[in-house]
């Protein structure tokens, strides 16, 4: 595990604690900036099949249950699963295809920067992380592979206090040279990050997409889907910005 999403999202009831571990991991691993001197040599980028979650997340980062040990954590986990199931059904009802939206936005941002883009299908053992190696990846005419993995959905800092649900996208991106696997760029982008984590690109959420509680979110499916759309666009735009 390179950047810890598996841990962050695996321990559902202890999300805040996992985020702290994740942030600590990010702070110790510096981003690798794109080497501008290579820019002229990279004309065609192969987008590897991204690491994707099973569905959207609906996270309440602080809950009352966290003050009540294991029983509280179990109750929280059940509530989170219920919220995620509702959110997934709601987005399905809107015919919202997160994976297709993400890929289309990514292609659009790279093409706007002058790159030719092709799809490179790959399989992954871990959907929440970068590929372990790129030796088996092959795509004729591709100069570099873009490896990404992301989570998306809605997050609220917590019910106690004023913190509405807002869309989030947390992603990792890595550009590797096709010829020798050298890392040309590696970074993490958090749209609507909690607690201003250091070392990762932090994109502020669009203020237009805020829902005071989860019931408000589910009562406006169209706006909820549009909020995720905006988050994907901003996050993939940031990937483009990192490789120019």
């Amino acid at each position: 595990m390179i950047w810890g999403f598996h841990m962050s999202f695996g321990l559902r009831g202890a999300f805040a604690a996992a985020v702290m571990l994740f942030v600590a991991g990010c702070a110790s691993k510096p981003a690798i900036p794109f080497d501008a001197s290579q820019a002229g040599q990279i004309k065609t980028i192969g987008i590897l099949t991204p690491g994707t979650p099973e569905g959207p997340r609906a996270i309440l980062a602080t809950t009352v249950g966290q003050s009540f040990g294991l029983i509280g954590a179990m109750i929280d986990a059940g509530m989170q699963e219920s919220r995620e199931s509702d959110l997934k059904a709601m987005l399905n009802g809107q015919n919202y295809d997160a994976s297709a939206t993400y890929i289309a936005d990514l292609k659009s941002t790279l093409e706007a920067r002058g790159y030719k883009v092709v799809d490179v299908p790959v399989s992954r053992t871990d959907q929440t992380d970068f590929k372990k190696s790129y030796f088996e990846v092959s795509a004729p005419g591709v100069d570099a592979y873009l490896d990404t993995a992301y989570h998306y959905g809605y997050i609220s800092a917590g019910v106690i206090g004023s913190a509405p649900y807002r869309p989030f996208v947390y992603l990792g991106c890595r550009l590797v040279k096709a010829s020798d696997g050298a890392v040309l760029m590696e970074d993490r982008i958090f749209y609507n990050a909690l607690n201003n984590p250091k070392g990762v690109v932090t994109l502020p959420p669009d203020p237009a997409y805020a829902f005071p509680d989860f019931a408000d979110l589910t009562s406006d499916p169209k706006k909820a889907a549009a909020g995720i759309d905006v988050a994907f666009k901003a996050s993939t735009g940031a990937i483009g910005q990192l490789i120019q």
């Binding site: 900036p33 206090g161 913190a163 509405p164 070392g199 690109v201 502020p204």
Partner: protein
């Protein structure tokens, strides 16, 4: 006796007020325009750079304050730019350079970077669009190559005066503990949340940190 107590109380009040006055900080206002009389040279002057060290094991950093009194140059596009000069380390191989612009109140320095070789010739230029927020700071990362000798940290005048709003969700953990009258130890944690909204205006000047660090080792 009563008079003495009254005088002591008065002294305490005066002292308290004075300390309060000292503690109160003046808000930092963004520099939105430079004085007409500010002289700006056509070329940057690299004769008195601040040296930046390099250590392959540890990040090395220097702080820089770009103030209204800083040197100024006239960019080819006609805009005026305050600037500071850094003498870059020369380890003989590429390394990562990070330039961070720190918010001060509602003001944040709008950076533009120039990289020059030993002869002062421009090798690369990055405007504010190259910078992205990382945590609470506006940061730009780049790889420096052998032969790049000076970094000019100047103002990106085009974006001075523009605003940026940043909303951030925050979580807080409050733990209280003690011993009950029956001698039982207890500890309780309460998790709470809030949101912070930060409105920033890009400025001609501000606080900057420049960091050099080695490329991460290959896995």
């Amino acid at each position: 006796m009563r008079e003495r107590v009254r005088l002591s109380l008065m002294s305490l009040i005066v002292l308290g007020a004075a300390l309060g006055g000292c503690a109160k900080r003046e808000p930092v206002m963004p520099i939105l325009a430079l004085p007409q009389a500010k002289e700006c040279a056509a070329k940057v002057n690299v004769s008195n750079p601040t040296p930046l060290a390099f250590d392959p094991e540890d990040a090395k950093a220097i702080d820089m304050n770009i103030s209204e009194g800083a040197s100024c140059y006239l960019h080819p596009d006609g805009s005026k730019s305050l600037y500071g000069v850094v003498a870059l380390p020369e380890p003989g191989y590429a390394y990562i350079l990070t330039v961070e612009s720190y918010p001060q109140g509602s003001s944040i320095f709008s950076p533009r970077l120039l990289l020059l070789d030993a002869n002062g010739k421009l090798t690369r230029e990055y405007d504010r669009k190259h910078f992205m927020f990382r945590g609470g700071v506006l940061a730009g990362h780049l790889r420096v190559h052998p032969g790049e000798r000076y970094l000019i940290v100047g103002t990106d005048a085009k974006s001075v005066g523009t605003d940026e709003q940043r909303i951030t969700g925050m979580t807080h953990q409050n733990t209280s503990s003690g011993v009950t009258t029956s001698g039982v130890y207890y500890a309780m944690t309460l998790n709470t949340a809030s949101e912070s909204v930060q409105n920033l205006t890009y400025s001609y000047g501000g606080k900057v940190k420049i960091v050099s660090q080695a490329m991460p080792a290959k896995k």
